[in-house]
């Protein structure tokens, strides 16, 4: 075997209160793909940010092509041939694809010849089959296209060591395959790649080697061929994992949530929802699949009173609720688990108790003649903290000091407690570890068994298949199809997510 092109020895990276990486070693060989597997918060991204020059390691050494290197800035890293596609894309929305690709390059002429740059980009996108128009603005592109821009950026800069941080999280299954192909092509040219993921199947499909991180420590190094998803899952979590949830057969009731021909615009004033019609019955979980940015956000917002609709009807419990304000909708029985839990779910500088009471504080016994009862709020909070197993030092602790999973439990507790029959859940398990995910999912199933109508938006097809009863697929603001989850398969949903219908027509609101 040849010498590693990238070698990291004993890397330790500390953040205030947290050790992100604890003496981690890594070896990457030319022409190979190394998968870095681990749960959220296992330290995969921070380890790679050290190589990319965005973080500085507190301890440890880095060798590239056998030579010890100091990486103090992204520029150092780039000069060593390292290129990284970050989880949150590093793109300037208001600039064109070409401008983004040449951004910060020292060796382009002072007076930029955009035509020449565009030409070169077209050549490269031809060669690697990464279709994208160099003259489009980033904000005009889908997430999948934006990722192509990120990859083209690395190619344009001649990166030899590619780092991809959870690149498939935003892609359809077909786009993931496409990415795999590009990666194969690049490694066949002698480039090497580190591939960060928390999905076992991707490790199997993409990589030659796999390294598993758990709580900042390196747990194991395996040749991908000599391991299997089950073993990897165990190593990653540190215990056996149950993926299947017990779902009882149940009776669904009346139609609770009824949308007819709903239309809405996005922030740029472009159509985001186009004639959405669907019905959710009591006790039913309707899953929503789709690549991010296909109208999910707007769908949630129109249902919770955060966005006006421009046409159609929204009936909740038979009452017309379109364009009502959020309070009216809450009073009608709608609960909301927002996609951005920090921005819309909790007030970080308020106590856990305050956050838990944020929805029911208007009603007795928490309020009497307009005056709040702090004691009763604390009592209520203690009950909910017990019931939902929220891990917080005290009810008075500021919510922002809790982990993502526990913040999500605060929201879940509050919303379930106040729920009057409809629950809108947007990506409820996003970014949570396996334990918290299991808990959130089982809570939703329990709620539906109590007769709640649930709209569940998720980017995790596995989650939709196990939790939801029906799955509707959104593409460019339209419902492509609504499938029974027992009959659906990922392949089929993936095609629908990409806008391919296979000659089938939409079932509509069956």
């Amino acid at each position: 075997m040849s010498h590693p092109i990238l070698e990291m020895k004993g890397i330790t990276k500390r953040f205030p209160n947290v050790v992100a990486n604890d003496r981690v070693d890594l070896e990457l060989y030319p022409g190979e793909v190394l998968a870095l597997l681990g749960e959220n918060g296992a330290g995969k991204s921070s380890l790679m940010n050290v190589v990319a020059g965005l973080y500085r390691a507190d301890e440890g050494e880095i060798f590239i092509r056998g030579k010890r290197v100091e990486i103090n800035s992204p520029r150092d890293s780039m000069n060593l041939g390292v290129g990284m596609v970050h989880q949150n894309f590093m793109l300037v929305d208001t600039m064109t694809v070409a401008e983004n690709i040449i951004l910060g390059l020292p060796d382009i002429p002072f007076r930029v010849d955009m035509e020449k740059v565009n030409e070169r980009i077209r050549e490269l996108s031809e060669k690697y089959n990464l279709q994208v128009d160099p003259e489009s603005y980033i904000w005009q592109l889908s997430v999948g296209e934006q990722q192509r821009v990120e990859i083209l950026k690395l190619i344009y800069r001649g990166a030899e060591i590619l780092i991809l941080d959870e690149p498939t999280a935003v892609l359809t299954p077909q786009e993931s395959k496409e990415l795999n192909r590009v990666l194969q092509q690049m490694t066949s040219e002698g480039k090497s790649a580190v591939f960060i993921t928390h999905k076992m199947e991707e490790v199997m499909a993409f990589s030659n080697w796999v390294r598993v991180l758990n709580k900042g420590r390196l747990v194991t190094v395996k040749e991908t061929q000599k391991t299997n998803p089950k073993e990897l899952a165990q190593l990653m979590v540190g215990r056996d994992v149950l993926f299947r949830l017990a779902k009882k057969e149940r009776q669904t009731g009346d139609v609770i949530l009824d949308l007819k021909d709903v239309q809405a615009l996005d922030d740029k004033g472009l159509p985001a929802l186009q004639s959405i019609s669907l019905q959710i019955r009591a006790g039913e979980i309707m899953g929503v699949a789709g690549v991010a940015g296909n109208g999910q956000k707007q769908l949630v917002e129109v249902l919770t009173g955060l966005r006006k609709i421009t046409g159609g009807q929204i009936r909740i419990f038979g009452e017309e609720m379109a364009n009502k304000n959020p309070l009216e909708i809450i009073n009608c029985g709608v609960s909301h688990i927002p996609a951005d839990r920090i921005a819309r779910g909790v007030a970080g500088d308020m106590s856990v108790a305050g956050n838990l009471a944020m929805k029911c504080y208007r009603k007795p016994p928490l309020v009497k003649r307009g005056i709040l009862h702090p004691r009763r709020i604390i009592d209520l909070a203690k009950r909910m903290i017990d019931m939902f197993r929220i891990d917080t030092p005290t009810p008075q602790t500021h919510a922002k000091f809790l982990s993502g999973g526990n913040i999500q439990k605060i929201i879940l507790a509050r919303e379930i407690d106040a729920c009057g029959g409809v629950l809108i859940a947007a990506y409820p398990s996003r970014g949570l570890d396996v334990g918290a995910t299991e808990y959130i999912r089982s809570q939703m199933i329990e709620q539906s068994e109590c007769g709640t109508a649930i709209l569940l938006i998720s980017e995790d097809l596995e989650e939709l298949m196990t939790v939801a009863d029906k799955i509707m697929v959104l593409y460019e603001g339209r419902i492509m199809d609504i499938l029974a989850s027992s009959e659906a398969n990922t392949e089929q949903i993936g095609l629908l997510m990409a806008g391919v219908t296979e000659g089938k027509t939409a079932v509509g609101h069956a």
Binding site: H86, V92, T94
Partner: protein
Amino acid sequence: MIELLTSLLAITLRSGTSLIYATIGEIYTERSGVLNLGIEGMMLMSAVTSFAVVYHTGSLLLAILTAMAVGGLLASVHAFLSITMRANQVVSGLSITLFGAGMASFLGQRLGPETNSGYLVGLVGAKFEPLNIPVLSRIPVVGALFNQDILTYIVYLVLPLAWYYLYKTRNGLNLRAVGENPQTADAMGINVGKVRYIYTIIGGMLVGIGGAHLSLSYAPGWTENITGGRGWIVIALVIFSMWNPARAIWGALLFGGINAVQFRLQASGTNIPASYLNMLPYLATVVVLVMLTWWEALSKRVGAPSSLAKSYMREDK
């Protein structure tokens, strides 16, 4: 009539010149993500120091260089506070304005000759005289464009150059990225702090020229509060220009134009009280700004650099 228009345009340009310098300066600063509210103080400081230099040395060039140095120096204080110390940029900028205004007033009583007990007020020094360009300056109305001082002629060059630099060069591209998305700029190997320092200081130098134009050409000499709030008008004009240097001219002409008209009205002996007329340019700027911002919001066009007034540090989450 033609004579009236010619003279109106001439006054408009003269009173607009200092605004254009300062507006372009502030646009560059804000494009890097730094909001500098110290313009008023910086303009006053450069106005008083440049007049003092020209009074004592007689050199206009030296006076302009002084103004640039003073503007750049005050801007570098703001840069240090807001970029290195990560202070609140609004507070930092306001304190520079307060300091500059007080200091300029103080210097105005100390930098003068002993014969005037140190006062600069009421003294006469060298000033930028209009340079008449033969033939061109005799065209009706438009001729006013070619009967200006050298600083105004330079503005004709600065405007397109500032636009070209921002939109068509490598440095301009990097500058825009830094103000828009410093995380990305950093990851792409651009030194965010350095870029912000450079353009905050360059911006300050241009603001300095703007201040000097007031005391060396527009209203030669030193008077208390010579800027008359122009530093604040510049903040409005930056928004008005949608952070595009080429559009800085329209805002400056609007303010300068209404200023010229109200001058003319005052001179013609109208019975509207002068105080009301003096208010006009400011009022008009506010009204137009509100209307424009309203329209921009309506058409979903927002031009402010996304990271304006936000400090950046690499390992922040």
